[in-house]
Symmetry: C2
Subunit: 448 residues, 2 copies
């Protein structure tokens, strides 16, 4: 339903070709697709079909299609290739994409691939590879067109005409001084519409700051979003131009970040939706195992109150309510904090305000739902004391949930622990344990 | 910690200016920020500071800053303005941004604002406003530069030089025939590097298809992602050019989609992280109320087995484990499906394969954890029968979780119900009820 019209039609024709065992037709249909559409088709296919499709790619489209695959699939497709074959593939790509691929391969293989590439491309790749993947320097391409400020636009025009093409997504030329230090940007649209006699200095824009190579990729994404940039120059500590980052790579960062927030909350770190059962089963098992541990912890709390439950069996009926409401409230606060963190909205100056807000929200909702559950319970079990006990437990657990859900991610981030992956388990463990402990503990006091 | 270096310094100076009650300084600091940075500062401030900052914006930056605010904040900032003031604001923006703003205002106000605008801008706005916000036509700007295929690049260059600037993010000129029908794209970088004597027809690219105006916004985003486009032309059913969509608006669609998946799973539909407690409390309460309903349903299942629990109180200790493991497994399957749906990876040809994969995963993990919990229980309570009972319940509940987590989103989507918002509650309700029912039901059979 969500699939694009053209690729789907091609997909149907392709499936027909595969079923009728006419691989020649399939190759022709694949060759006719854009690299992005072919990669999409491969990603959204079950593992066996994926391998068939990868094998059918025409040699001249293979590099571009493989480049569009998500990291895990790309690595699987490339890991067994000879260094010569890898060099041929990365040689067809922009240096930022090549660096992404090489960063994932074993170091020995990367070295052998680099040795095969021509010297100029190798040295450009090495600049990008000298930075980690997750900072501006690792996202950039070194492929920039630089001009000097004292030139006239006419000279720039003649200089550009000596190129057969500009690097992809070139919206700006980069203005540098004689030491290659960044001075400003000259939009190519300005070159097109302005009087050729004017100098670069007069027309260049200086209000888009360059990005330092060490800035984290997530922060790069935030700056692009906020300022609607198409590309941005990257500089080193001395202000020297190193390269440029383009919006297509930033979109990938944004999507990976969003995916991380969603899947890590369910303990599914970067799982491929179409991975084989044998790849996914152990990963899922680990998360279930951690949660079994926390469930056993909660059970051991209930275990302390066996006598009380034996006496008032209604406690067993009602206790999951207190724990489950705490879990829901805690997950809400946690999600709000994780989302604000992912958007870069949490700073030292506002985090206390946010925790205070979640706390106040949990007190308000705690009071309201304590009242509702008190009345429900008193009527259901004809026992006002039980109603009072569950109301107290509900209020305490919802306030705990708000505090834990809002406070934990901040503490975890300070400790450099992933607040998404660890936060979800910790918050529900706390609300389960607190829910059972307060409800059964208060009951033991009243009925004991 | 994640905040950009420059805005933060400015932010600190700004806070100092606000505290020392020198609003003149604050205005100057704000006026010096880019619209995106000023909007970011406003968004990440508590409500009272937000209003102060909005009041301090210089008139010439107000439209641009307000345009960068998220929908809810933007509406709150504009809802009480007079039509004349609104006309002044939207008059400074591109037509796609103006249309976004006008779409959110009451129809009577929109009509009065449109009446004030000059005729040419009004008619362009009306084209965009004739489409819903969430399709290609509602995302587009009508601001394109069109050329005819039979011109030479030299003529195009001279035509461009008559403009004082090109529309924002113009990477391509649009090639149309005499009926304004879309023929292809002419990259402005091609105009710059090519021989001016060549014709547009020879240099235009024809392998980037135009987008029909009715294509959903999410599908537009997928096509941009897959093909690394900066802009794409939009056409009507007759192939006539209507406008163009640019990557900055697509990035907003991508971020909204990702945000929807994350927050809806926690029942937080589009909540603003910094909203006041009075705005958020009722929304949170509704979600907690729905979950109280489902928790009461689970409790009523437990209630059926009061006698059995009174006899074997260990059942009360262990029953949350079965329910909680089911909830975790169900949420994992649900998240995988929701994510694959959001990425446009789920089609009719692969959805059954995916459900089958989740089912097989849940059988494998069900068997493994049933064994683990059987041994743990048999040792803890010195009761092998209890171990056998909980193992059966665990296996049944994990398989139910896999089926519900993977199957429900597909069914909900077919029924046009949001699989994220409804899916989360439904899956955990099913696993809670099934967990208590199978565990206590089997126990009643064995011990009854």
């Amino acid at each position: 339903m969500n699939s694009p019209i053209d690729p789907t039609n091609k997909t149907e024709r392709l499936e027909l070709a595969l079923r009728s065992e006419t691989p020649g037709d399939a190759v022709a249909i694949l060759a006719d697709m854009s690299p992005g559409d072919a990669a999409y088709l491969i990603v959204s296919s079950p593992p066996d079909v994926r391998n068939i499709l990868l094998g059918l790619l025409a040699p001249e489209q293979e590099a571009l299609v493989v480049n569009e695959l998500p990291e895990e699939l790309r690595n699987a497709a490339l890991i067994n290739r000879a260094p010569e074959a890898l060099a041929k593939i990365v040689g067809q790509l922009d240096d930022d994409d090549s660096a992404d691929i090489l960063q994932e391969l074993p170091e020995a293989i990367t070295g052998r691939v680099l040795a095969i590439l021509d010297e100029q491309y190798r040295s450009r790749l090495q600049t990008v590879l000298s930075f980690p993947e997750d900072v501006a320097g690792g996202l950039m391409s070194t492929d920039t067109i630089n001009v000097r400020a004292d030139l006239t636009l006419d000279v720039v025009l003649r200089y550009l005409r000596r190129h057969s093409a500009l690097p992809p997504n070139t919206d700006n030329l980069v203005v540098v001084n004689r030491n290659d230090q960044f001075l400003g940007l000259l939009p190519i649209s300005t070159v097109l519409v302005s009087d050729p006699a004017i100098s670069v200095r007069e027309m260049m824009i200086t209000d888009q700051p360059a990005i330092h190579a060490e800035v984290p990729a997530t922060e790069v994404a935030h700056r692009f979003e906020r300022n609607d940039w198409i590309s941005a120059p990257v500089i080193d500590a001395e202000g020297k131009l190193l390269g440029r980052i383009t919006i297509d790579d930033v979109v990938d960062v944004i999507m990976e970040e969003a995916d991380h927030s969603l899947t890590s909350l369910a303990g599914l770190a970067e799982e491929d939706s179409f991975a084989t059962v044998w790849q996914s089963a152990p990963r899922r098992a680990i998360w279930l195992g951690i949660n079994l541990g926390t469930a056993l912890l909660a059970s051991s709390v209930i275990n302390l109150f066996q006598d009380t439950i034996e006496e008032v069996v209604a406690l067993a009926v009602l206790m999951p309510i207190v724990a489950s409401m705490g879990g829901i409230a805690g997950t809400q606060s946690l999600t709000i904090l994780i989302r604000a963190m992912a958007m870069g909205h949490i700073t030292h100056r506002n985090q206390l305000w946010l925790v205070g807000r979640e706390l106040l929200l949990s007190v308000l909702n705690g009071l309201f739902w304590a009242l509702v559950i008190a009345i429900t319970t008193a009527i259901w079990f004809e026992d006002p004391t039980l109603g009072f006990i569950i109301a107290c437990a509900m209020l305490i657990n919802l306030v705990t949930a708000g505090l834990a859900g809002a406070g934990l991610p901040i503490v975890l981030r300070e400790l450099k622990i992933d607040p998404v992956l660890a936060g979800g388990v910790m918050v529900t463990t706390i609300t389960d344990v607190m829910g059972f402990l307060t409800f059964l503990g208060l009951a033991a006091l009243f009925y004991g």
